[in-house]
Amino acid sequence: MEEGRAERRRRTEAPSHTQGGPRRAGVMTDVHRRFLQLLMTHGVLEEWDVRRLQKHCYRVHDRTAAVEELEDFINNINSVLESLYIEIKKGATEDDGRPVYALVNLATTSVSKMASDFAENELDLFRKALELIIDSETGFASSTNILNLVDQLKGKKMRKKEAEQVLQKFVQNKWLIEKEGEFTLHSRAILEMEQYIRETYPDAVKICNICHSLLIQGQSCETCGIRMHLPCVAKYFQSNSEPRCPHCNDYWPHEIPEVFDPEKEREAGTSRATKRSLRSRQH
């Protein structure tokens, strides 16, 4: 068995691929380990948080080293995680394009990450909400429509009042976002479940024409029906006075959002508290 080899490698700072094989992986140091610990603890983090986290880990474990460029830092870690079927995945919030990161398990093909948190009927409620969200035109499912499905849930019978609270639990745990009585997927859920969703709902799922990732919220061309994420629209049509559909060339009828600019965010000098309450509304 590979155990002997694995033990010998433990003594050096060598990569941890337990599958053996000649794959060259990066080196894990305590900086990376702490980073992973903290990323796992937080579930999902925005990019500015991730950068602070990275700097914190360097400060704690290796003050003398230069802080590696975030993308390389993460790719380095991911090369070690590859053999474990997990990775640090980067995504973006669908409404304003803020980059987010989460440690995701590539091997799961179900909502199993949530499975340990929620009861059978709660999980089923989530699945029902998920289906409504995916099938909807806007990417939002109304509270009413979700609650009307309460009778069809597997497991213990759930009343509508209870279901309302369960939905709030999903919001608090960052699986769903609520906006004016309607629910959509949190960026965390999209990051973690994209694979599962694409496999489970291959016909209903919408894909962005630009980045080819899963699309829940976005804009669509009224002529040919292709869809784009709001941040993808922003980037694609940046400084274009006459935006046209990339597929059918018809005039793009929607308002073009601003490209997300982290620098502008910081300069705006919004206090942490305001930012947090803003975020908790949007996310």
């Binding site: 941890s16 894990m28 380990r33 948080d49 474990l84 340990s116």
Partner: protein, 325 residues
């Protein structure tokens, strides 16, 4: 032989497997093995009582050679081997799964443990067997060992059996210096701040804090038992149920109090994860005072810090000579 049917893993031997492999990290004592009679009392709800023989039969035969590096583990392995030569040698048993399958199980278990810890849920050994290991019960020792190895090398975390009695594992940080990392990212501060507020109240009082006293303090933060808060949600539920479930707080009825009153104490997890010095630092920050403004408490905190240092001299290795944030 009839013992073959009782193929449930003994969490203690599994814990030895996990602890003996991760001795490269500084300052972590290995899990002590209780006497064999204690192992016999470890019974899951549906399984017959385990004896030490079952624990050995549950592990794959070639144990001793692979446990290099830890003299204590080696000694244990050879002792076990000597004492129980005959039965294990005579067992044909079902064919062991391919190494790749055991590796996959180890990865699943790793993720399972990480997620449980992320949700601050208890990592319960019978759950691990039921939810992840399943039909690979016989090889759970080897699976657990591999999982612990991965967690140590990739995440710098120890999977440790914290309570033999309740069969609970927990993930302990193996990196130095140990600190409240949560504080480093202040968007987690709300939850931690709330908890620290209550813990420090209890600490300063030197005994349990009555619920009424706790609410007096929380009122300063604008929190009320009947009001839902934008960040915390149902605060009362959070502190009397969730924090209690996570073992950060204990919520107990005050004896002989009429009408019934409740009080809060530190939970076992708080005692494990949070030092008195951290509480003093928190108090100093919140009240903008020197920690020595609470002289007896500060003295206690110093005592505890000194005791911790003495218990773990290797905890302060030169590599981490940097000062804390």
């Amino acid at each position: 032989m009839s013992e073959q049917s009782k193929d449930v893993c003994d969490p203690n031997s599994a814990a030895e497997a996990s602890s003996s492999e991760v001795n490269s990290s500084p300052g972590v004592p290995g899990v002590l093995s209780p006497p064999a009679s204690q192992a016999a009392t470890l019974a899951g709800p549906e399984t017959p009582p385990l004896g030490p023989t079952d624990a050995l039969l549950a592990s794959p035969p070639p144990q001793a050679p692979s446990e290099e590096g830890d003299p204590k583990a080696l000694q244990q392995a050879s002792e076990e081997g000597r004492a129980h030569q005959a039965p294990s040698a005579a067992q044909p048993g079902p064919a062991p799964p391919a190494p790749a399958q055991l590796v996959q199980k180890a990865h699943e278990l790793m993720w399972y443990v990480l997620v449980k810890d992320q949700k601050r849920m208890i990592i319960w050994f019978p759950d691990m067997v039921k939810d992840v290991i399943g039909s690979y019960k016989k090889w759970c020792r080897s699976i657990l060992r591999r999982t612990s190895l991965i967690l140590a090398r990739v995440f710098g975390l120890h999977l440790r059996l914290t309570s033999l009695h309740t069969m609970e594992f927990s993930l302990v940080k193996a990196l130095e210096p140990e600190e409240l990392d949560r504080v480093a990212l202040s968007n987690r501060m709300p939850m931690t701040g709330l908890l620290l507020m209550i813990l420090s109240l209890i600490y300063v009082k030197g005994r349990g804090a009555r619920e009424s006293a706790v609410w007096n303090v929380l009122r300063i933060l604008g929190l009320r038992p009947w009001k839902k808060h934008s960040t915390f949600g149902d605060v009362r539920k959070l502190i009397t149920e969730e924090f209690v479930q996570q073992n950060y707080l204990k919520y107990q009825r005050v004896p002989h109090a009429e009408p019934p009153e409740y009080e809060f104490f530190w939970g076992s997890r708080a005692s494990r994860e949070i030092t008195k010095m951290q509480i003093m630092e928190f108090l100093a920050r919140v009240f903008k005072k020197d920690p020595q403004a609470w002289p007896s408490r500060y003295r206690e905190a110093l005592e505890e810090a000194r005791a911790l240092r003495e218990a773990d001299p290797s905890a302060h290795c030169p590599r981490s000579s940097v000062s804390e944030d």
